[in-house]
Symmetry: C2
Subunit: 147 residues, 2 copies
DNA sequence: CCATATCGGACTAAAATGGTCCGATATTAG
DNA sequence: CTAATATCGGACCATTTTAGTCCGATATGG
C-alpha cells in the first residue's frame, strides 16, 4: 500500500514543467538532473504522462517535454493515475467473484468510500498551487499565461 | 497502489471471528474453508494479526483463533495495518532525503493529508458494524447469538 | 544532411507478494 | 503417559511487479 517511485518522479517532473515558462519545452536531461530522476526512466515515464494527455513530447533536436495544459488545470490525481494506473484500494477489484460467494462483502462499501475520498483530495490539488508553494521567493517574473 | 490480498483475507478472517460466538475459538481450517482462504497462508497471516494483538491463537488440539477484544473495538484500520503494515502513501517515506534536495516537496503535505483522511475513514469502521451488515441476508443456521 | 534527442519496445535485476512445507511445540482425549 | 490433533514459526519457492537499462528507429533544427 504505497505509491510507487514512478509516481514520485512523475510529480517532480510535472512540478518542474509547471515551474518553467508556460508551455516551454524542457529537455529530458535537464529535468532528470534538476529533479534527480534517472534519465532513461524518465523517458519511459514521460510516455505514460503523454499518453494521458498531460504533457506534450517534442522529438528531435531541441526536443523535450512541455505541459499540454496550464498547470492550474493539472491535478495531482491526474498525475498519480497517469503514473501508477487507476487508484483502486479494493484488493479484489479485478476479480469479479469478489468475496467468497454469498455475502456481498460489507467492507467493500468502505473501500469505495475511502477511495472516493482519496481521489477527491488529490483531485483538488493543482500544480499551480504546488509550484507556488515550491518557489515562494521567486516572484513570478514572466508567468504570462495569456489565455 | 492497492491493498494486498493478505488484507482482504485478514478482513475476511476477522469478520468470520466477529460473526462467531463472542470469544469462541474457531479452527483455522474452518475459517479457511468458509472464507476461501488458503489455509497455510491463513496461518502466516494469523500470526501477524496475533502479533498486533487482534486475535488470540490457541495451539494444540482443538486449537484455532479467537478475537482478543469485542468486535466493536476492532477497527478496519487496525486489521489493514496488521496485515499490510503501516498505511503510508508517500513514496519517499522511508528515505529521509525525501525529494531531491532543496525544496521541501510541496506534495508531501498533500500525501500526509490524504493519508490522515484515509486512516480516519478506516479507523471508524468497526467489525461489529461490518458483521451486522453481513448477517441479515445470510441466515446462518446456528447463529446462536445468545449473548 | 547531420547532429541531436526522443520514441518505444525489449530486456534485466531486484524486490514484494502469494503461497507451500515441515520440524517443533502445545493441548486435549483417552 | 501417550497418541492424536493443530498451531507455531521460519525456511523455502514461484510469480508478479517495480525500477531501471539499452538500442535501433524516427523526428527535428540548423
Amino acid at each position: 500500500m504505497q505509491l510507487t517511485v514512478a509516481t514520485e518522479y512523475a510529480v517532480r517532473c510535472v512540478l518542474h514543467l509547471a515551474g518553467a515558462t508556460a508551455g516551454a519545452v524542457v529537455a529530458r536531461r535537464e529535468i532528470a538532473q534538476a529533479r534527480a530522476i534517472p534519465a532513461p526512466f524518465l523517458a519511459k515515464l514521460a510516455q505514460r504522462l503523454a499518453h494521458a494527455g498531460l504533457i506534450r513530447i517534442q522529438a528531435g533536436a531541441r526536443g523535450g517535454y512541455a505541459l499540454c495544459q496550464p498547470a492550474s488545470q493539472i491535478t495531482l490525481l491526474a498525475v498519480v493515475e497517469a503514473a501508477d494506473g487507476e487508484l483502486v484500494l479494493q484488493p479484489c477489484a479485478a476479480k469479479p467473484q469478489a468475496c467468497p460467494r454469498s455475502p456481498a462483502c460489507p467492507a467493500h462499501r468502505v473501500w469505495a468510500k475511502a477511495r472516493r475520498q482519496l481521489r477527491a483530495t488529490l483531485a483538488h490539488v493543482t500544480f499551480d498551487q504546488l509550484a507556488a508553494q515550491e518557489k515562494p521567493p521567486t516572484r513570478t517574473r514572466k508567468s504570462a499565461w495569456t489565455s
